[in-house]
Amino acid sequence: MSYLRSNFRHPDAKVNDIGFTKRDYEGALSTLCAGCGHDSISAAIVDSYFEMNIEPHKVAKISGIGCSSKTPTYFLGKAHGFNSVHGRMPSVATGANMANRDLQYIGISGDGDTASIGMGQFAHIVRRNLNIIYIVMNNGCYGLTKGQDSATSDIGSASKKGVPNQFASIDLCQMALQLGAGYVARSFSGDKKQLGPLIKGAIEHKGFAFIDVISPCVTFNNTPSSTKGYEYVRDHLDATGTIDFVPHRQELTIKQPEGTSKEVELHDGSKLILQKNRHDYNLASKREAMNVIETVKEEQQILTGLIYLNEESQDAHAKINSVENPLNSLSKDDLCPGSSVLDALNEGFR
């Protein structure tokens, strides 16, 4: 277990704008290994939903199978969760989202769950542009079955077993970009300062928001020879720029020297403030985003931060022209044609 949590809560614990304490966004105790990167991501999710003032029960958490897919138990305990079938979270999430467009959806998956067994479903949930946050907790290995290489493991990277991986690695951000995701980001579980704003941006994004979070497996893939270990990742990070999230209505208080930052406005008026660095490119350009990922990769670095953002895309409900009310709220009166049309129907079959 990562940590033991005290039940004590300070009576003056901070509440957010809608009256919930941080505790209301937490879940059960984690049963992952001590130091697991996934627990840091869970913590970032807790903080983000708390700070974004979202009622916990208005979120649905859906996952596949694996270490990553266990984490929805460890955050948002007041929200319904669904630990589904290996690699099939996207289809369950699609059905759930079709049934009720008013909830927020967060899908949690791992690199095995998404890049191998679930590759087909991943590709198609991106294409549908389902309104969901899709987080891959990416550790380059199969933790729950004791450390086999996964499809995101880099060529030459060796886990605890010591055998360098021979096979090409799948870059899920590039795939998401190619398949039409509107929000593509990569982060590192050890960089909460970056991960938090990225999750908040994803919450605000209407449509498919993808975050690939490199999250070292301390037990099986944290060796000096692994490109998904803490040490290697820390030494090779190359961010698109530091990032801050400013909710709408809140006054901009972050002061940046003129010309070094840029603002990206999200659909509800919230803003993402990006510090420019050497990768100053048009975030809405798929081609430029793809180019930067490849360029950084050539330099043996890992590109993190917000990589691509398109606020114009239509989500799945808009594409299929479904009614504004959640489909699961419609009554028999809304749905059943009734006996009055039966005569005409039957007559058509005579």
């Binding site: 649905a60 969760g81 669904f82 087909g120 479904s322 039957n346 005579r350």
Partner: protein, 611 residues
């Protein structure tokens, strides 16, 4: 050519159309079958089509039966042969005394010489070439011309065809006149050249009442609309695709909001069947009625998810339009061979509720019922239709709907339900003793009712556990629910006159089984009858089996799957069963069943044959 033994029949014969797939013959053949129906005579039509879009042979069989027998009948009294690829086969398969109708624009090969049949040559191609210049029209009207010729040869009331054309093209009026002209071309040619040659007649009767002619899949899609399905996930697969097509068609008709033009439904074409059932389960988990339609290969792919829905207790309604397996098998031929695959889909101890419709009206009703059952029982329900029922038009009682029918959404605690609850709620707690716990829908309540749905073992409060005792109790409780299911699924329909021998059948085998019973009755073999409508089996099924020394189970699969299911699930003597099994991909026939039963009775001295 004259024949002493020409088949003579009125309103009781079989006609086979031999065509080329993709040549537009299906609509002409349907026009013919519909016209028989409109003359008030029971008729069944079977489209025997290839797994192909264009070019391969396809057949269409129409059985005209004044007595009301709707199953397939072997033997062809009249063949319309328009396909050169199968001409020899068709010629040879015609019954003695039958009529061979062919396109005489080309002479029949000299090798085709039978003196026990009547040849009727009508130069369809030449007539078309003379009257139409557009190659596409020539092809289409060739089919209409032979229908016109049949109208004369069978002495049918021509106005029925004219009326059919008029109603078919009510919205494309300019097509009416050329179609009627084509009908007349055929009619006139036959009248002139074959005035008295055909002894088969179709004469008007008043035997179909208010019945309709409908495909099972159309009825299923309509049923899903009436049942309040809002989410469909699906993947194209013959012969199930037309279920979703019908669902979409009726949704577009009845489910578009008049003010906003927006849809009160979501149809997602998935990337495969795994995703299709995942969508169904996700939507049902989130409180919407959902469904999918598939066939055997899809059921295989859905099996893992079905186990999850069984164990995590999530509603899921799916329709299996069975076709010939295993593997790709004969994808455009019918069978009842997914009984095992569906009943026990998935690993571990799983079993699922099955429904067996026999006609389009039941497809509609069991879809409505299936959606009630899956929510009531919180477990997958699979409706077992097949290609014959799904893709052929069947004479059926009209669709009926009772406006007072309220959807049974099962045991769901909403906000008020959770507020009113005094004791601690447990997602898998059996408080009513029927094995069915109470569920909650995401977003219902800010503080109560949230839980983590999982396919891993869980206690009564949905908390993960590896405690073997807790796991075992949960599994046993699912059997309590299974017992509850027995009392609410449709009961078998039984005709029991205390005979020694019983026959058991289900689904599309019913048509032929009833007719076989009549055939055997004439030979003084009397049988009791049971039509199974659902799995799990109720007490009445066990009682029927145990009250007969011999039980014939009539099925369209090789391994007697329903028989094995009966043996497996009931306290019955396995030695009392005999399987009557047809697996050639064609709908089972009454003659086959009657012959098999008689053969078995004759060869088994231990059987006490009634008289």
């Amino acid at each position: 050519m004259t024949n002493l033994n020409n088949i003579k029949a009125t309103n009781d014969f079989v006609i086979r159309f031999a065509n080329i797939n993709g040549s537009g013959s299906a609509s002409a053949n349907n026009l013919f079958a519909k016209s028989v129906f409109r003359l008030g005579i029971p008729v069944s039509a079977k489209n025997i089509f290839p797994s192909n879009i264009q070019g391969l042979p396809t057949w269409f069989e129409v059985r005209v039966s004044e007595k009301g027998y709707l199953g397939r009948r072997e033997g062809y009294d009249f063949i319309v042969a328009t396909n050169g690829q199968t001409l020899v086969r068709d010629y040879n398969e015609l019954s003695a005394g039958g009529y061979f109708f062919y396109d005489s624009s080309r002479l029949l090969p000299e090798t085709l010489k039978r003196n026990d049949i009547t040849e009727i040559g009508i130069p369809l191609t030449d007539i078309c070439n003379k009257h139409y210049s557009d190659p596409r029209l020539r092809q289409i009207f060739k089919n209409i011309i032979y229908v016109g010729a049949l109208a004369y040869l069978f002495d049918m009331d021509f106005t029925v065809f004219e009326d059919s054309i008029k109603s078919q093209f009510a919205k494309k009026a300019k097509l009416i006149e050329p179609n009627i002209k084509a009908l007349k071309l055929g009619y006139d040619y036959a009248q002139e050249h074959y005035t008295d040659d055909c002894q088969l007649n179709i004469h008007r009767r008043d035997l179909v009442g208010d019945k309709i002619m409908m495909e099972g899949n159309t009825a299923t899609g309509l049923g899903a609309v009436y049942a309040g399905v809002t989410v469909a996930g699906w993947y194209p697969i013959t012969p199930s695709t037309s279920v979703i097509e019908a669902f979409e068609m009726y949704c577009r008709k009845f489910r578009v909001d008049e003010e906003t033009g927006k849809n009160k439904f979501a149809i997602v074409q998935a990337e495969d069947e795994l995703a299709a059932i995942g969508i169904v389960i996700g939507a049902a988990w989130n409180g919407a009625r959902s469904f999918t339609a598939t066939s055997g290969p899809g059921v295989s792919l859905m099996s893992e998810f079905l186990g999850l829905a069984y164990f995590a207790e999530i509603p899921a309604f799916l329709v299996d339009i069975q076709r010939s397996g295993p593997s790709t098998g004969m994808p455009t031929r019918t069978q009842q061979s997914d009984i095992f695959a569906a009943a026990y889909a998935s690993h571990g101890d799983t079993k699922h509720v099955l429904l067996f419709p026999s006609n389009p009206k039941e497809c509609f009703e069991m879809t409505v019922q299936g959606l009630d059952l899956t929510e009531r029982l919180q477990t997958p329900v699979i409706m077992m239709s097949d290609l014959d029922l799904g893709m052929n038009v069947h004479l059926s009682d009209p669709i009926d709907w009772d406006d007072s029918h309220a959807y049974d959404r099962g045991k769901v605690l909403d906000y008020d339900g959770l507020e009113a609850k005094k004791e601690r709620w447990g997602r898998y707690l059996d408080v009513d003793g029927d094995g069915i716990p109470y569920r909650t829908i995401p977003g219902a309540h800010p503080k109560k009712g949230a839980f983590f749905t999982r396919g891993s073992s869980h206690d009564e409060y949905a908390v993960y556990t590896e405690d073997g005792k807790v796991y075992a109790e949960g599994m046993q409780r699912l059997l309590v629910k299974w017992d509850t299911a027995k009392s609410i699924v449709p009961q078998a329909s039984i005709k029991n006159n205390n005979k020694d021998i019983g026959i058991v059948y289900y689904g599309t085998s019913s048509y032929a089984a009833k007719e076989a019973d009549d055939i055997l009755k004439q030979q003084n073999i009397e049988l009791d009858k049971m039509r199974i409508k659902a799995f799990p089996f109720g007490k009445e099924v066990e009682d029927f089996v145990n009250s007969h020394s011999t039980v014939f189970v009539i099925e369209q699969n090789r391994d007697a799957q329903m028989k094995s299911l009966l043996v497996n699930e009931l306290q019955v003597d396995p030695n009392n069963f005999i399987g009557i099994l047809n697996i050639d991909g064609m709908p089972i026939t009454a003659q086959f069943i009657a012959d098999e039963i008689r053969h078995n009775l004759g060869n088994n001295e231990t059987l006490k044959v009634v008289k």
